[in-house]
Symmetry: D2
Subunit: 276 residues, 4 copies
């Protein structure tokens, strides 16, 4: 069923049976509690970021997400505040105490990202950027590795193996939807990947229903399903004013919807024997 | 987002806001309770069917499924007991009291299926068999319409509209996985289709995690997720001896695993405010 | 590479090495000449059909295509003139001498189609309508079997095997595009299927670039490529007034464009050592 | 049909109507002649590279391809000779006079690649590595941009626009197959992309049937079809001993098969009014 399994000697179950728990600035991912990472798609301003960070913390998020380097399909779209965005993330961490995860798109970004963030995100389009995976493998910083939008589960595990083979085992996997023929949703969230990954790897696995659906009102539904299928956490886009967002506004929750979603997943987590 | 929405005048929400409840031999699908339909992929013998029917009833299934006419990729595979299989299904109904759902693959099967079953299944490969949909539309028998494995949600709703436009509104939709590039699973179960369908149509929607994954051990996981995302029911393949099954053995649950699955979804159903 | 190959005992190369030539009303498909089948998507009226038939014959088409029973995604679209359309096709045959191919969507259509046409088309949505394949297998009429838009090459060959196993070996295969994530074209025409099919089966294989692209101006380009890759024929939609067509107008050629296309493929056919 | 067309202001037809011709070390891509680029998947040794280079030149190739930095799915596969491989490519260029194209996977590779090669290849997995595209945009070196294996044509053009918007308009596009549900071939070569790209952009477009099919014996067939559909060139993997290749052996042609392929495409090129 998974041909390359022999090459997942470090991230595969054959090498290690107990589950890996990744410490992100004091927050444990892969332990008994479901960890919610939330925040805006892009860091846009100090006010936007701080207001969002405070709101998601109040609602129960444990880690702040926000993009400083933004991969955008068109060169004429907003591509992020870059270094300035990283500084704003570090400020928001000081103000709220929330550890921060943000994306690095290039090997040259890694020093700056490591200086300001607690966890490096490798985005979907970079899952097979092997030069980047190699460099991240040399660090000892937690990594959030998102599944490529057209990567098989086998390729996903082998991308993680790249990082692990460099010596960095602090990897959290993230299912975020795959590209299919269906056009009603931005991607098709592949929730069956969760139990499959849990069986084949000891790494924690979280779900991103924001990119997985592309539609904000679908997010709480798929968040519930993700918890029901064994996710160790969620990655959720939240914006204080989605209609004014510089990116991904249609898939971002308002703080009040996010709060309802957090209440909503409680009974699911409870039914799964998890805290949250 | 859904171009053909203007053509879903009967099955779409614009025509009718309250949810449709379909009565299948006294069992209400689309009401407060989650309805589990279970049984073997193929009817193989009186003993196999009866033993399975008794087991699934004991575990809480409300409707018996079983294939008499079997669509098989190769002409040299077992293609079902056909009329004989229908009679065995009717016997199992008498013995257990469970209403029966079974597939019709051709317009010429409809009389026989209607004579023995409580609900006609239109399989995934037949979702765009418009001649069959038209004939089923003339009946007043409940229909279980499975999504084509490469049908968009729009095409799925328009297939239901074919049936409804003939005058038969007793339709239950079933998400059963779509064909994608991923090869670890038989199909990719598209659970985001559930809240989308619930928003666009008033018809009940159930989920088939057996075909949706193709792997028996994934079925209970995806069944939980299906309930968490709002499914009105589940369609589950159960076999008393999966290794000896004439079709779909790898995705069939043993009765004891099915029973555990039924216990497993209870807290999920409860969290969703549903009985089961 | 092709798991089910052992089940293609009749249509596979292992059973028969020389190429099969199918005689369609005196026109040989699979012989040295490339055979072009052309005509409207739907038969709409006597005038429309006859004008188109005369035009395609003048340009070099050898077989007339036209739909009487039309599979349509919405029940509210034009679904064909049905029996009346078959009669118009038979008239056009008398007037032009062109043999006729037309689709049957249901087992109950077969008698009428056989009474009026020289070749039965099994459409893409019916490739896995096994009841229909079985009935067609009992006939001795040539069959044009179109690949399902999401069927693997293996499933395509096994559908042909269904027909052959019933005793009818007069099968012509047709590649007509598969469903992918790309939205610029209606389907993605899979031309690599041609040499693959030619290696695995002795049956003739033709290409339908009209459905394969969905855009009329792409048709002549893909027709050339189809000839270059070894197609035994082409299936082309032509309409005397595409803008007024009741179906598929955007992918239909005007007669003058069709004529240019026919001139265009000449040098390609010549380079391949084929007549046309 | 192509939503982002307004963002292709530099590479789109609206900005420039005449076709762009890219000069690669004196060889013109996009002019009247079809340009064949050939060589091994990976540079493995001086002997292997030189023998292959001499053979492809003799058969009519105009540019030498060879990988020094290799993106590989597993970290335990051969990942290329890297800097050493670049030196061997430069040597082969001196020995044969053939300009050289080779891949850069990371911004940090660009200096070395530019020092030794005539054209930088951006591989399929890097098509959305926007940091790399930006850096390449600052250079004045020809770029071979391969389509992402799951990129739409729109995304492909926008990736080219990234490079052009940096000031580097010397871009050659390459269709190399997309990921679909079909498993008989490594990818599905999307030849309809050729006329579509030719209509939407003034940039040259070539085809890679080696990756597009993954099977060496399919390559000459698809090479012919590529020429018939308007390709400005071909990218072909050739190895003196495919069975001993460290990567992609199954899709590499032996020199003698390559020579036959070159003879084979002549009549096609002629029919298209192209030299070669």
């Amino acid at each position: 069923m998974i041909r390359g399994i022999s090459d997942t000697r470090l991230v595969g179950r054959e090498g290690k049976t107990e589950n890996t728990v990744v410490d992100v600035g004091g927050v444990l991912v892969g332990g008994p509690d479901i960890v919610v990472m939330a925040g805006p798609c892009s860091v846009e301003s100090e006010e936007q970021l701080l207001a969002t960070a405070i709101a998601v913390k109040r609602a129960g998020a444990k880690i702040l997400r926000g993009g400083a380097f933004k991969p955008r399909t068109s060169p004429y779209s907003f591509r992020g505040l870059r270094e300035e965005g990283l500084k704003l993330l570090a400020e928001a961490r000081r103000a709220t105490g929330l550890p921060v995860v943000t994306e690095a798109m290039d090997t040259r970004h890694l020093d700056a990202v490591c200086a300001h963030a607690d966890m490096i995100q490798i985005g979907s389009r970079s899952m097979q950027n092997y030069a980047l995976l190699e460099e991240v493998g040399k660090l000892r910083v937690p990594v959030l590795l998102k599944r490529g939008f057209s990567a098989t589960i086998e390729e996903f595990l082998l991308a993680a193996e790249y990082i692990a083979s460099g010596g960095n085992g602090r990897i959290v996997l993230c299912e975020r939807g795959i590209r299919t023929f269906e056009t009603s949703t931005r991607n098709t969230l592949d929730l069956s990947a969760l139990p499959l990954l849990k069986r084949w790897t000891h790494l924690p696995v979280i779900v991103d229903p924001s990119h997985g659906t592309g539609l904000w009102w679908l997010v709480p539904h798929m968040a519930r399903a993700a918890v029901a299928v064994g996710a160790d956490g969620l990655l959720i886009e939240v914006h204080v004013n989605p209609q004014a967002a510089l990116s991904d506004g249609e898939q971002s929750l308002r703080p009040e919807t996010f709060e309802r979603m957090m209440n909503d997943i409680g009974p699911m987590a409870h039914a799964m024997g998890r805290g949250w």
